[in-house]
Subunit: 468 residues, 3 copies
């Protein structure tokens, strides 16, 4: 018995499946390059064991608890938001007895992968097997082979980027880096510059953050120019610790191209707290263009992740705070929104801007046509709700014919759940193999080309796009 079939996610038609198998065989062993995600550098700096299955599989994973919540299980029953889980076995049992809810979801595929590949479990998770799972996972987590660094090595990770506030000291990154330099663990953990807390006036604590930015950088962030210098300095600091990219999670993809004096006055209004919603949006818009300008100087790759309505559930937000599974995508426009930035920097050979979306309608209508023209643009992989078998397939089907493969940048696991990383990369490799196999089976591509492309989609393009 097994949770995983060797042919999983391959098309059923025999000829196509045989091609998919061959393509997948040529890439399954490639190192994992993870240029965008939400793991914690401290895990690798401290290298302490993960405490228990709940802390590992449920608490950090809003994919898991949002589904349980949607079916009437309270967040209290899952001890979400508790600093310390008091009854992890009970929480695990609740999860196990509702495991059928995940049928047809990628979460199910990711979890089964980890259960079998890492913990040797082969019987399906259910109320019946809950305790056996719990005990098995607990036992393994206590062993040396399940410490974060050991897992990183075992997963075959070549490089792993985290996502960090510009106000972060990056102390953990520094420790890992220094350790490696002095002959210690050689894992490559890189920070990513995510300036939302200091460029989005709607971010909680924005005013305070601007002050902290002044303290850290030694610049006068009460002036536009000082603020610019402070941001440039923090980018430089991140870059010195290995960062190759920035990331921007604005509500929309809106950009702006104001004169310096207008930008400066807008910044004043923001600092004075007199800016209305439209001005705040314009400020975020201008800051994307400023970030592009700085990228031309320092070479950091820009990632733009728009389109999430954050904290849609007011009651959940009031009680549990951010990132509680209550972010919902919304319609997102790119064509007019990106125009100011693109008109200024879109033809710069030195700039790379990677676009993501939560609105799949943009793939064929806006994103592929934009990326198939502007030299600076690349398409990020399917994101968040869409990094699933069907979602990934739709991305390839809808983007490739206009943007080609070479304007895409490989896979992002984008996860907070460290153990899901190999599962997610495996899933992406299988879906890419399946998509390419169909093109070969339908004689739209030769197999030698598909082999080359499979390698590019898994390894080549991501290293090039993110400058890794």
């Amino acid at each position: 018995m097994a949770l995983l079939h060797d042919d999983r996610l391959f098309p059923a038609e025999e000829g196509t499946r045989a091609i998919a198998r061959r393509l997948y065989a040529s890439i399954r062993g490639l190192p994992i390059v993870s240029p965008h995600g939400h793991t914690q550098a401290s895990w690798f700096a401290d290298n302490k064991p993960f405490p228990n299955p709940v802390a590992l599989f449920i608490q950090p994973d809003h994919y898991v608890f949002r589904m349980l919540y949607s079916q009437g299980i309270s967040l209290e029953d899952l001890e979400i938001g508790h600093p310390y889980i008091e009854e992890p076995r009970e929480v695990w049992r609740v999860f196990a007895s509702h495991y059928h809810l995940f049928r047809g979801t990628p979460t199910r595929l990711w979890l089964d992968f980890a259960f079998q590949q890492l913990f040797g479990l082969t019987e399906r998770l259910s109320a019946t097997t809950a305790d056996d799972y719990y005990d098995t996972v607990c036992a393994k987590l206590a062993s040396q082979q399940f410490l974060p660094r050991a897992l990183y090595d075992r997963f075959g990770i070549e490089v792993l980027a985290t996502t960090d506030s510009p106000l972060d000291s990056l102390q953990d990154h520094r420790l890992i880096r220094e350790g490696a330099r002095s002959g210690g663990w050689a894992g490559r953990i890189l920070p990513t510059f995510r300036p939302d807390p200091v460029v989005d006036p709607a971010f909680p604590g924005f005013a305070k953050n601007i002050e902290t930015l002044a303290d850290i950088s030694g610049e006068d962030t009460a002036t536009w120019r000082g603020y610019m210098r402070a941001l440039a300095a923090r980018r430089h600091f991140f870059k010195a610790l290995g960062a190759t990219a920035t990331d921007h999670g604005h509500p929309t993809a809106q950009t702006a191209d104001l004169t310096e004096s207008k930008a400066s006055r807008l910044f004043e209004a923001i600092l004075e707290g007199t800016a209305d919603a439209a001005q705040q949006e314009q400020f975020r818009a201008q800051m994307l263009t400023e970030m592009a300008r700085m990228s031309l100087d320092d070479g950091l790759v820009m990632q733009i992740h728009p389109g999430a309505v954050r904290n849609h559930n007011a009651q959940i937000f009031a009680r549990y705070g951010r990132d509680m599974g209550a972010d919902i995508p919304m319609r997102t426009d790119y064509v007019e929104a990106l125009r100011p930035l693109l008109n200024r920097y879109g033809n710069e050979p030195g700039l790379t801007v990677i676009l993501f979306t939560l609105d799949e309608t943009a793939y064929s209508r806006e994103l592929a046509p934009l990326a198939g023209h502007y030299p600076c643009l690349r398409l990020g992989p399917p994101w968040w709700f869409h990094d699933s078998p069907e979602g990934m397939m739709r991305f390839r089907e809808q983007a490739t014919e206009t943007a080609g493969f070479y304007n895409t940048v490989g896979f992002n696991d984008d996860t907070r759940a460290f153990l899901s990383i190999p599962a997610r990369h495996d899933l992406a490799r299988r879906i890419d193999s399946a998509f390419l196999a169909r093109l070969v089976a339908e004689h739209r591509l030769e197999e030698d080309e598909a082999v080359e492309l499979a390698h590019e989609l898994t390894y080549g393009l991501v290293k090039k796009a993110y400058k890794l």
Copy 2:
């Protein structure tokens, strides 16, 4: 020769088809649960024979006559809008000689099912076979086995909901119910509370309807509180006659959460006829939230069906009135629109709100993420233009990975064409079997799970969601 192949709608690939066959075999005999539709209770109360093939297949079915009209056949030639069809055989011949227009549409599949399964016809409908069809159908319709109650029983219907105005006396429902209680026909025909005529100020006759509501309920509907009491009373009346659900066909999904005094003043403006379009929209929005509040009291399940531009063709509307095949879907937003209602009641364990859409782009972007989080939300099946093989498949492909299967509610036939009910349910069962079979064939699900899910999608989830 046959119109129907046993393997219709199953994937062609042999392995997958074999799985689909097995799944379908496990559910094909399940009773039909029809929680949402537009049949007439009077058919079952009176149990009179259906007059002729035109009255049965063409006149009530806007799917049929809109296609004919789009290809230049006048509604006059089809005697649409005539109280009595003068030359039914001639109308039937027009239809038969244009039957090729329906190639590739679900209408063709539904009709062929009825032709063969109910009338034993096996040669394709065409100008040549028109008269044979006409005579065969007429002969059968005159027999006992084709009376409405006999067909209900033969179709294996367990429960059938109609859609009714709050002003309706539900006399037919009462008669059926009393008949059953006194040992007569035991069919279960339930009303559904559809308050559009008394909550949508743009509904034809709204002011008059509010007065009638007063007469029926004995409440003073000239005041906000009396109006609220009147609505609650009518809901109670519907519930007493078996209703388990309400249905709301607003142009948009907009909700509101006004204070009582604001709602009351808005209602005054509506009654005075001074409300502009924005106020009318706000009133409808507020009424959805009021309906949710009442649902918390009386337990009725809410269905929201937004997104149709009604009566798009002004000339057709002026001459023939509503429901003449000239309703066109429009872009529909849910994320911001539902926020007021969800912020107030979204986390209530006792509430069920079933969301429908005519805008398929909302499946993966808005509806699945919402239903995969809020405990009160469930996703209705593909609706209207989309309750077709490709439409149903897109729904499963686009909604399942985020919402799972268990946040959906099975199938609605939603039809005015009584004879299409078994055809529509059969089609849905086949498509669900085909979708599940692919997941099994691609090793994304085990077959025992697919069997369980097929049963849930056909029978279990609908009974639970609609409290039947």
Copy 3:
């Protein structure tokens, strides 16, 4: 070795593929009917050889150079915008060494078709084979068999429409026509009336164009009525030279239905240059309705092609002008936009309006429901970015169930690249065969019906819809 496989673009599953092969065999030899495209009548009037592979395959084809540009190749390196290509072999080498960029795109399929079918090349284009390709193509282009008229005949073209300004003298069309009448070459090259330069106030040179229109027509275009008469006259002139259709490339699908006095005053404001953007949009909107009115008089079929943001890249536009691969689709609404025109003329039996879109979300939500009701409406084939294997398949999957096949109008090649015409039609025939084969394999259609439909989709419907 071969670039093309006989089964290309057919589904891999053997049973379905066998059906697709049979369907394709029944239509592959049908004449090419090309009712909409951007070839030059002068090619056929002059019948001069095409100069070299670059002028043939790269310079006129923005699909080709936009992809190269997106990957960092400058337009200078491709000598785009040069009146005379100085180093065609060098440009060709750049293209050849980047041919892998086109993997997965329709451009690759179109080019391979031309390379093999016309030039006998069977080894893949690459840096290695660049010179061999260049020499082979050059040699053939110099031969009699590769003159435009010979190619037209060889391609099996029955009729080919160009797209022309209302200010065009159509001298080349006249010459071809007169030649044919006097026993010369019998190719049928028809003009299409594309009035954008004189009905879109935002069109470069609009005011001057209106004056030229006066000169050509002898009407006083400074008055609304004179302007109307001038347009009617030009339409008449086009019709006299064989035109059967008009074409409208407005930014949106907005229509209007103003009184004559309002339209007249709006026209005055436009001519005076005092009209703002909203008034310009209203003017374009009114002109679509005026064109529909004129179509009722003269019988010309209307084509509406909305949804492109033209010249998105300001730097490219400033340096190279229009049509440089920097047009990007945008979201496009039809339901409310078309209402004024449809309310006035939507039920006219004599009118045909063919709708196109760059926004695929409109297929199932708006376009198919509209075309499945209004007698005047037909759906144009997938356009521009979407005239690709996946794009065509999505169109059939998303439009057919509501609009049927008979509300569509066959294929448009819409190309500036003459040599891609047979490739594009071949691709469309294969995809239609593949789609129909799936319906047959899934028993949603009988094979004899699919054979009939394949013929209609390739030949019958286009001739009927465009009155050819």
